[in-house]
Symmetry: C2
Subunit: 115 residues, 2 copies
């Protein structure tokens, strides 16, 4: 228990410019792209992604306020984005702060760019 393994401050996506070595084509890449695209396949989820990209991070409640949807519905959309890997949620006291997963977003751009 020497070094406490300092965790970076929640949603500060520490400059991870490590290149993604996985191929952008082939069966696995196709599957991956379809999963990511499907997650973006709803206007509310695109809107959420934009909110998170703009503010770099966002409290769940803020997102609910911005969208014309019930809280439970927004929570469901957040879950879809989270399961696709596009966002991450960090418990911060009584609330949950969401932020984009830069690696995955970059991966998505690479996959789309390969078309």
């Amino acid at each position: 228990m020497a070094v406490p393994l300092k965790v970076p401050p929640a949603c500060a996506p520490f400059a991870d410019e490590e290149p993604d070595l996985r191929p952008v084509e082939g069966r696995e890449a196709d599957e991956e792209l379809s999963i990511l695209a499907k997650a973006l396949g709803h206007p509310a989820r695109v809107q959420i992604m934009r909110l998170l990209v703009r503010r770099n991070a966002c409290i769940c409640g803020d997102i609910v306020d911005e969208l014309p949807l019930a809280q439970s519905t927004v929570s469901q959309h957040l879950k879809v984005l989270k399961e696709a890997g596009l966002i991450r949620g960090e418990i911060d006291g009584p609330r949950v702060g969401y932020c984009v997963e830069p690696r995955v977003l970059r991966r998505l751009k690479a996959l789309v760019g390969s078309l």
Copy 2:
């Protein structure tokens, strides 16, 4: 019936490098991105897109041969991509030649890139 209005040769996407002036953000852009993403939200459709990009054009039958799906199912996937605007189908005698719609594909890349 004077000038026969020469149609360009089927799927030769004549160098249309005209820039797309529509914004990449806002309600309309979000809706557009979600529609395009949804169309790519299935591995078979990603595979179809790749086939079309590679060969620049493709006969429907060829696509059926490449995918482990029934002819009717492939036809349905083609319809989804067509309705999203990502591909175009041109009747060529008894068969139908498909090709990507470069403008829309570029638009998709721009929208994803804006995230």
